[in-house]
Symmetry: C2
Subunit: 414 residues, 2 copies
């Protein structure tokens, strides 16, 4: 029995377009991995009337079918936080302060050298929940979450809108409850990445021919990213899932990968290898990506941002006439960049990127999006790869740095 799932987020900063709601998508993604599909997202301003009217509609709907409403936001200490008040109006209940949360708040105040009596009423209000509901502990912040009944097999979940508090509460406290409310078979999920291929081509070449054989018993989904698509497969039938992945690997042997960012990070650490970069059109984006994970200082040494031709020449020792002859965006210069880089840094891996990110600077021979990537592997091999990436300046730069990491991934695999 699957509930009709609605995700409700509140916040005037959201409906004014000043903040982006990342909570709803995150929750939907988590629910998808648990095997549930969301029917609707709703975002409302901090307006108790609008929120109440929406909750009343959900209550009415719950008379016809099981409804699961997951709401974030409005549990904070400021005057525009209306969630608890609205839920009390909806249910006609009173509220009480959760002892555990009260103690936690007191301890936080004591640690700051303040006393219980110093706690502002608004701050204290965050420890309150409606009587008789299931509470959801907040291990990151103060506001307590709760689950209120909306009718038969129907629930309203209220959680704070602060992402770090919400995600922790969702994973640790809410998921076990949801599994009790709506029991279902264990769903297995596998994810693979495919590089430089469009979503529609993938659907045409892989999903359609295998629809009957695979996808009556398995679900699939695709997320498009810069440079790659992420293919997600789900089923309760694990052997079937393995067959799908095997077929996928046979169909796309050259462009398939696992999570490249995670894989490269782990292998560089494990194999105690080092890496450095020489970036032109990406201006530092590849270095930024290589240093996103804690611990990256074990393998990432640093590198050169050689945006101007003069820097390519003076820092990496490429003769200016070489650049003039072949052009700054050329296989020859990419190769010279990575060779000059590794002479200076002596790292195991070296990557160079030079390209035309646009919107200006393209030509018929080298249109905007042309990018040359040089790779130096631990065995001393140097290779150069030329691409034409689609999209605007941002998209081309993202594509180039993601693809550079894919080249490192491939070097580990082959």
């Amino acid at each position: 029995m699957s509930p009709y799932i609605v995700i409700l987020s509140t916040g005037s900063e959201l409906t004014a377009g000043r903040s982006l709601d990342t909570n709803s998508g995150w929750i939907a993604n988590q629910l998808f991995e648990l095997g549930w599909k969301v029917k609707k997202f709703i975002t409302l301003p901090d307006d108790p009337k609008l929120i109440l009217s929406e909750l009343q509609s959900l209550q009415t709907l719950a008379k016809e079918r099981p409804v699961l409403a997951i709401m974030t936001g409005g549990l904070g200490p400021t005057e525009d936080d209306y969630t608890l008040e609205t839920v009390l109006t909806l249910t006609g209940k009173t509220s009480y302060s959760v002892e555990k949360a009260k103690l936690r708040l007191t301890k936080i105040y004591e640690a700051r050298g303040k006393e219980y009596k110093d706690i502002l009423p608004n701050v204290f209000r965050q420890t309150f929940v409606p009587e008789g509901c299931k509470t959801l502990d907040n291990s990151v912040g103060i506001a307590v979450g709760f689950i209120e009944s909306l009718g038969d097999h129907s629930y309203l979940v209220c959680m704070p809108g602060v992402p770090s508090e919400m995600t922790e509460m969702f994973k640790r406290r809410l998921v076990p409850e949801l599994k009790k409310f709506y029991p279902r078979e264990n769903l297995v999920q596998k994810t693979k990445w495919l590089w430089n291929i469009g979503e529609s081509l993938f659907q045409n070449d892989f999903i359609e021919p295998n629809r009957i054989e695979f996808f009556s018993e398995a679900e699939w989904g695709v997320t498009a990213n810069r440079g790659y698509i992420k293919c997600i497969f789900q089923s309760t039938n694990e052997p079937l899932l393995s067959t799908i992945i095997q077929r996928l690997e046979e169909t796309y042997p050259k462009i398939i990968s696992d999570d490249v960012f995670q894989f490269v990070h782990e292998r560089l650490l494990k194999d105690k290898l080092t890496i450095s970069v020489a970036e032109s059109c990406t201006g530092g984006l590849l270095g930024k990506k290589l240093t996103e994970q804690p611990g990256s200082s074990s393998y990432f040494i640093g590198g050169f941002l050689t945006y101007s031709n003069e820097m390519k020449s003076s820092l990496l020792g490429i003769p200016m006439e070489w650049i003039t002859t072949h052009g700054a965006v050329s296989e020859q210069v990419a190769k010279a960049m990575v060779e000059g880089l590794c002479q200076k840094t002596e790292t195991d891996f070296g990557i160079s990127i030079t390209g035309i990110a646009g919107p200006e600077g393209g030509s018929p021979q080298k249109p905007v999006g042309t990018v040359c990537i040089g790779l130096r592997e631990p065995n001393g091999n140097v290779s150069v790869h030329r691409y034409i990436f689609p999209g605007n300046r941002e998209s081309i730069r993202e594509n180039a740095s993601n693809t550079a990491l894919f080249l490192v991934y491939q070097s580990f695999k082959h």
Copy 2:
């Protein structure tokens, strides 16, 4: 007369959490600048039943008050694009192919060496709109947008979900129509940035004391970012708006700025100045930010990613014992980094960043978030600035590189 505004986005990739809906927030932000507030965002999967039922609710609501529903998505060429079909069901109308769009599509095909008859029916479908509605030309892609009546002073706007197509259509085609539908006085908007100050402190120190004097006739809004908050003021009374900005400048003389990214870009171009960077904990993020705008090659020369101490020493000429004595994250090393940098690059501006992005590596003297930024100005002045930035690794790195740009801004101002 203000309409009840709802923004509706469709796409199963959104409700599955595989893609983030950036369209709704963008539209809400544009509407806010025009002086309209949005009452609700709704996101639905590509399910014609759910979409129709939502549109019917809006049609019912339009009997009570003016409703403006702006819908994105579902106008593409694939089988899960249901917007046109649903609107036809809702209104009982038929559709026709827009001549101009048909011609445009034919030309695109001809440019690819294909003929009119090669156009797939699904692709061709994108040129169709309901009879008798106002069409919205698409100057970026193929799918035509349209405005359908929902009742008295009530409208349903349908636009493609591809952001580049939607934003262009919104600004060029839709806004003039909206201004005709709902005429209103000219609203003026001013935006200022405040650095290293929280939203609640700003509200407490600036909004509350000036509430009576300013904010009965003006609206305000705040967006929190990494390192700064963006304060937006709106009013039809332009002199009042100037008074507010003046008071803001008097209250926060040291931390106020305009759009730093735009300002620094324009001034570096105009004054023909150059800049280079030496980054440690940001790993390339500052270079990436400095090369986001087309034309940045006029001022950004490049720089060094000196993530390891060995690189700080070998590339920037900082003695290792200097690093060992003071620590890699210290005012002394930040100063030596920027001096070493500018000796090599000879640029007018130089920036160095060294810090502890965490989660490991903090100490009581230098907690996670400690960042030292060195600045070399065109007159040869070198200064070092020490901060403790809040948040996680990503937040600290964003804060550090944004603040570095603020230092360049301040150098131009003083």
